[in-house]
């Protein structure tokens, strides 16, 4: 089976670990071997959280520089920071709503313009899908569903060979009961954003 290497970059608290678990469950439902690796630790203290998800026959659970097939970004500047993980064939899907690092507020750095960042990313990789996932999540009922909006965009992009029905089922399995409908709605809004992009 072909190997697909997906890197998810986010800031602590954005729900990337749950999104990774949903993809893992969906892979099981589709019969795709999957291994994941994540670095937590200081996640709750505002640091960068990165997950690597390897679908298919490779055995490693981490992804080397330049070897990501897909980069899923929860925060636009984190996508730029993770560019070294990409090569010219990498497909990038990202949220465009910034979460400015605190260091910017205390004058240790400048947060670059989002449009400018997106065009720099677009120049370098095979394909960029950039959506305001936070706005769509609010539309779905909660900014907390931004992770699921992005999963919708990921699946609709066709970059990853998982079926939408399996991902929906995995969302149903993983999300808290009371929030299943909201999350499924978020997923569809993410899909829709790609269709109209």
């Amino acid at each position: 089976m072909e190997t697909t290497r997906l890197i998810v970059v986010a800031v602590g608290g954005q729900g990337n670990l749950l999104a990774s678990k949903v993809l893992g469950e969906a892979a099981l439902l589709d019969g795709v071997p999957v291994r994941m690796s994540e670095i937590h630790g200081m996640a709750q203290r505002g640091g960068v959280v990165e997950s690597a998800i390897v679908f298919g026959d490779a055995e490693s659970s981490i992804i080397s520089d330049g070897e990501a097939d897909i980069l899923l970004g929860f925060e636009p500047s984190e996508v730029v920071r993770a560019m070294g993980r990409c090569n010219s064939r990498t497909r990038v899907i990202t949220n465009t709503a910034p979460l400015r690092p605190f260091t910017v507020a205390i004058g240790q750095g400048i947060y670059p313009d989002v449009d400018e960042m997106m065009s720099l990313v677009r120049e370098r990789v095979a394909d960029l899908i950039a959506i305001d996932a936070l706005a769509l999540a609010r539309q779905a009922g909660s900014p907390m569903t931004m992770n699921i909006v992005l999963l919708g965009a990921l699946i609709a992009s066709g970059a990853l060979g998982l079926s939408r029905s399996s991902v929906e089922k995995a969302i149903t399995l993983r999300a808290k009961k009371a929030f299943v409908e909201m999350n499924l709605n978020a997923f569809r809004l993410g899909e829709g954003a790609v269709a109209t992009a």
Binding site: M42, G46, I62, D65, E78, P101, F102, I106
Partner: protein
Amino acid sequence: MHKLLSEKINEDLLLLGNEAIARGAVEAGVGFATTYPGTPSSELSLNLFQISQETDLYFEYSTNEKVALEVAAAAANSGVRTMCMMKHVGLNVAADPLVTLAYIGVTAGLVILTADDPAMFSSQNEQDNRYYGKLAGLPVLEPSSVEEAKEMTRVAFELSETLGEPVLLRTTTRINHSSAFVTLKGMKKPIPTGNFVPNPMGYVTVPAVSRKLHVKLLDNLAKASALSDASDLNFTTGEGTLGVICNGVSYLYARDAVQDLGLEGQVKILRIGFSNPMPEWMIKDFINGCQKVLVIEEGEPVMEEAVKAFAQEACETLPIKGKADDLFSRLSEFDPAMVRENMARFFGVEYTPAISVETKALPEIPQRPPNLCSGCSHRATFYEVKKAAKGMDAMFPSDIGCYTLGFLPPLSMGDFVLCMGASVSSACGFSRATNKKVVAFIGDSTFFHSGITGLVNAVFNNHNFTLVILDNGITAMTGHQPNPGVDMDQMNLPGYNSISIENVVRSLGVGHVTLIKPFKVKKSIAAIEEALAFEGVSVIISQEPCALHAKGLKLLKPRAFTVTDKCLDHRDCINEIACPSFYLDNGRVHIDADTCVGCAVCAQICPENAIMPLKKK
């Protein structure tokens, strides 16, 4: 029911490495478990803690790793299957009981989990704990994957009982924090109590006894060596005359590399999962058919040195390499591309590495260092100590916990961090060896772990410094585990006692003890000034619950503050306390109402009193 107690045999569950190990222990019928939390092992003990609330398993968060292992040693010598868990540096703390426990042995399985952290994702060093196997003469098992971690945990209990010795189960962060589907097997019922049969000539380690026990240990090591040679955990895959010997996650990278480089049929791999003692005859047999051998292991050249020694005994002169300037480093962790590249270089095959996109022309992205949370009481205390010590030639030893982050600007409170408990003892040294005013910081859990002994030392030797105990009522850094000062009733967990830090400190005869509430800024600064002026050992206990934990327990109802029009843009709030709830918009300071918990520290330091509670809509 806890998900790791699922009785659905053969079901595939998506588990974190630490969960898989916990399930492996449950399948093996672990009856007793002890730990001191430490990343990357923390979720393992957290899961067993939760499981113990639903089964007969006895679990405890011990005061430190030495205590944890000593408690475990007693259980395992009372015929109870026992697991003792810690991070790699924790085993340094437990090294004293470890080495002599190897002499004594165990009567029921004892598995000691040591979670190593190559690359130091959350640690102060990247020591390789396989050396503890050699030092103590104990078997070491090392899984390569999440699935194998569960199986190996079960095997480790059996091996421990076969040999009558504790077994070290050594993982790395990439095992503990990877996830994969794991197939569940049946669980044995946990039996938490047994019987201790007195045998002074086997258990009382006076020299005359220990001399005999050392002989027994060497016999057991010889038995372990034979078991290692016959173990399924050491196996060969593939065929060829190019040899790879590897362990842990490196095995997965090596397998992928052979495939990616098209070396099937040319490379054979010896995977070592039972790594102390090394399987001597298996290795001699393996290298006998090789032209050259590449040893792939993160950390120190433990296997490489053994393989070279075996080759010398077998009069083999083939090239054997691992750690070298042009191959693998002792530093950090490995990754698939690194293994692929080094394998290609060593075996002389063509290889074109993946080319990362150009990154030099990208704008610099501002850093996102981990930060003390919004409303963290440590921030307030650091600020207040800084104000109180203003103008003094002061230095600030700190310790291991969330508050280590206080060393970052603008707080800049933290000049020396060594290991758990060292803030207090190093303060003893700094106050004698320098003319500086020394103010040390330690958290509540770390104080119980190994700060108390330093404080006893300080009082006895009549040192001169101030110790600030940052008591947030929980072991926060590793995910809010209990410690002896925690009120367990608050978590609806009856049956515990709570130890007052204040009583402990006073009972030691500390000359000046002050309690502060750090969110009362002026009062706290005044109290700290007084403590700093005291000649001798003074202790300040700064009491305020961890905001994150209190929110989790619903004890804290956040009440956000806002910056009103009175703000004249002094920016003391940002420049001096740097709470992450502040942000700038159009050059003006704002407070993020979603993250502000309402500690009101910024409101107290604002020169214009411009920061006010946000009126509820």
